[in-house]
Subunit: 397 residues, 3 copies
């Protein structure tokens, strides 16, 4: 998996346990082929007749790399792979793959069904229910790792909207619920990009406009919130909580899911918002970012409170992930980059996320060492920073 | 041309005849140097004094790869190349280059002069007239291949505008003409991106607004249509025809020509429009896409009816095309990618399009095989899919 | 530094003296670590507690490549590097690094403090004052090279605003001052992208709107100008001068500094403006461009008066700069690309800009020669064009 000619210290640094600072639960139950296929695509639809979602970079990669963990030959055909998966059972498969990822701590987004568009495969389409997904604690147990929770703020909002009686009640409950959930979490997360894009007005919305929007919201509490003014209020409420508790705020950016307009998820569009947050000292963590990872790297380079990863891009670009990693490394300060697998739905994504991370960073380090650009000591130190050190510092693990 | 160490089955798959699912006719007549230079640039202007359009990636590439087909040494100087071209005559040159491309079927866009901006070199500048370009049938005969037609819908519109007497007449004739032309074509094509960008409102324009625009249109029937409401009506009329006849609809996106604002040709901007088309079952084929090919790949990954190629980028990025191909492969499902040369004006572009396609995909496959990422069987199968299989399925050839 | 297996003529062409067509002065005085760190980041802030701006691609690169010029081992630790820098003194360090860059002529942007956002590290934050920076003539003397001046038009505007008494006076003085400064310069430069983005309306603003804006402007002459109408007037005044004197106009585009919204600095957004300039014959030179260098290359390919470089991206992407260079080469005509270091603040950036330029272009040429894509003669000729020939032609040096 790693280049053969890496110095031992660099190899050790790459193979050291990772902090996966952003992932989701995986299915606890056995899956049909149709269910499995929907969980390995970012789209919400079956492949067209006569085709299969296995014919994708991710599909080929899991036959290559996950098959051996299930005691199969590399490149096993999809039907063989799924039959063996069923034979072993979801519990055993999850244990093998999550443990195989070599992760020391999972930070788990507690998203459930109906949490809105823009994040993770198969939202609303694959019949994922809360009870179907391993909880954060279970992810840790299956993976032989610690586990902590991330608060998906849109989910808090939905719960509050469903129970609140009036707009004032809604606003008060929102702040309280965010604070209560944040008290046992290591970070907050928003998927606002997938609902209204990242051209966020930098200021707080006025209380009057929020109250009016809250009234409209309570008329349809079962639907996800979509009004920008309300989502911005939610965001600022989360920022207040994050600031108070010293927690970072994760932003989903770039590709993921089928709902958003991709170009409006370019993190460069957040520039004014990012500047508004700068004095508050709340770390802003840009997730995924692809294909805008160079823009994200730029933000991390010029704003002291901005961090980046390319989570979801690693398992999805698979054999091509080394170049994506290289592009992220063009401008990102080494103390600003984090590892995540963005695992969700099936444990294969956790395993492949970690594998391609190590492989891609290993290739980048080998290239720099081979060209005499970096010292061995720098390469090892930077691999530790990106793999776990930066996350420990930012999330205070 | 291909990497030397490819397994035989993979090499055979790469060298198998291609379906060129989007190209144009080439000039049938002998060309002056000034004419030739204008046909190898996407801009519409001569190179600045003291410079030449041969000093481009495409210009160097054709001296390298096309010169030997004209019995010259590789890297022949431009003057030598053009003298030999004249000596052989356009007919012989076209036969050698089109046959050399190794294409089994050309799908030919029947664009003529004045079809509006945004597609192909030298629009309106190099004196291209209908009669100067080989027809689809002639392209097939010169290239030893089958040939089918694509309907450029903006051309139909222009013809209808020139003959219609009144707005109602115009609207009726438009639908009839599209249906009549589509009856002998394998697909439709639009260059709307180059006129009003790809931020298309997803719905059909109202009949009232279309009638009003049609009246304005008929006041200046010789000019290309530019009103978005009219172009959207044209688009929906084409969609109706495509749906009825089971034909795909090609969208020019990304770079090409000098008229459009490049950033407005980003296919990500079509997301809402693409979603509106999803229930209709009309395949949407994104052409060229560069430098937004990653965005296009994302759309192909999440929407079951979206397909991509990087046609024009292959001959124009030439020696650098392998990386562009690699980037397209990052996310594109293998059943969603197509080959095209986007040949136009000179047969060199057909030959180079095919050559760089094979070379770039060959390099990508070699890399995956060398790293153990893909099996030989997968590599050969996927090369067949992209080179011809997907096009046969989508265009029902 | 260069690939070992390059033919001699290509190596000689790469090592030939460069024209650095866009740089800034460097500090003449000795620097504290805090000052130095602010000059090696494009952001305006110190690195977060516990981190350092040396942990960036540029930071590692200068320890690798500049340390030996200061008689240190490659990869010297930051503290050792800065101690040796202080020991030698700024004058000696500047001489070694500027001479080491192998530049035959520096074209120097005469920006001073308060020239507005969007260009160069540490604007307004590192206490740079005019007197702290080497002048153009001094840059030449320290670097053993010729030196010429570029007129930063926003600086002229500020000087005029501070002294003008009334709007009419302001307008007249602006034209006169631009003409006077241009009389001893080789080009003009604008940083309008960093103030109001590059979605510039293509036409001249009306005299009435300019006069009204000038009146508002004179109420706060100490602040940088921010009204688009006034900046567009400034731009057109500069274009008039450039046209009259046959001078090119440089546009800062893409990344740099922390003020602009990065996506609004995409040069593709200038398309309409670029077309408006085409009949005037004023060369438009797109600086930096990253991460929109492919868009910039497209503009250079289709518009005869557009030129590009990736100045700032070379020292900042450092070990990863070869791929950025490769991407620029995908579409840029070889007579349209220029070299610049975008050196500013510390002479390390001049040295690294030249070093990574030669290294990146060398790698690209080696790849093309190795694949048989280019002839040796073409490779050497093109290296000369990009390194100095194009700049000599465009700037009439």
């Amino acid at each position: 998996m790693l280049p053969v000619d890496l110095p031992d210290t660099v190899r050790d640094a790459l193979l050291a346990p990772l902090v996966d600072h952003h992932c989701h639960g995986v299915r606890r139950d056995d899956l049909t082929r149709a269910q499995f296929e929907l969980l390995i695509t970012e789209g919400g639809s079956p492949a067209p007749p006569g085709t299969t979602h296995f014919d994708t970079p991710l599909g080929v990669a899991l036959r290559r790399w996950c098959a051996p963990l299930l005691d199969l030959e590399p490149h096993a055909p999809p039907a063989v792979y799924l039959a063996r998966r069923a034979e072993l059972g979801a519990g055993e498969v999850n244990r093998r793959l999550l443990t195989g990822a070599g992760v020391v701590a999972f930070l788990v987004d507690d998203d459930g069904p109906g949490d809105g568009p823009g994040d993770g495969p198969g939202d609303d389409v694959s019949g994922i229910d809360d009870v179907d997904l391993l909880s954060a604690a279970e992810m840790g147990r299956h993976g032989g790792a610690a586990a902590d929770e991330l608060v998906r703020i849109e989910r808090i909002e939905r719960d509050v909207a469903e129970s609140a009686q009036a707009a004032l009640d809604y606003l008060d409950s929102l702040g309280e619920a965010l604070a209560a959930r944040a008290a046992r979490a290591v970070g907050l997360k928003t998927v606002i990009a997938g609902v209204c894009g990242l051209d966020l007005e930098p200021g707080r919305p006025s209380r009057g406009s929020v109250l009016a929007a809250a009234n409209r919201r309570l008329a349809e509490p079962k639907e996800p919130a979509t009004e920008p003014v309300l989502l911005r209020h939610l965001l600022w409420s989360a920022i207040d909580v994050a600031r108070e508790r010293g927690l970072p705020l994760q932003f989903h950016t770039g590709f993921a899911g089928s709902a958003p307009d991709l170009h409006r998820c370019d993190p460069a569009r957040m520039s004014a918002f990012v500047r508004a947050l700068q004095p508050l000292g709340v770390p802003v963590i840009l997730l995924h970012c692809y294909p805008f990872h160079r823009q994200a790297a730029y933000l991390a380079a010029v704003y002291p409170h901005v961090y980046v990863d390319i989570g979801l891009a690693l398992p999805h670009t698979a054999a091509a992930s080394a170049r994506v990693m290289e592009e992220l490394l063009e401008l990102t300060p080494f103390h600003k980059q984090l590892f995540s697998s963005h695992c969700r739905g099936v444990a294969e994504t956790a395993y492949l996320g970690a594998l391609y991370y190590r492989q891609a960073l290993g290739a980048a380090l080998r290239a720099r060492l081979g060209a005499g650009e970096w010292s061995v000591a720098d390469a090892a130190r930077i691999a530790h920073m990106i793999g776990s050190g930066n996350a420990r510092r930012v999330y205070r693990l």
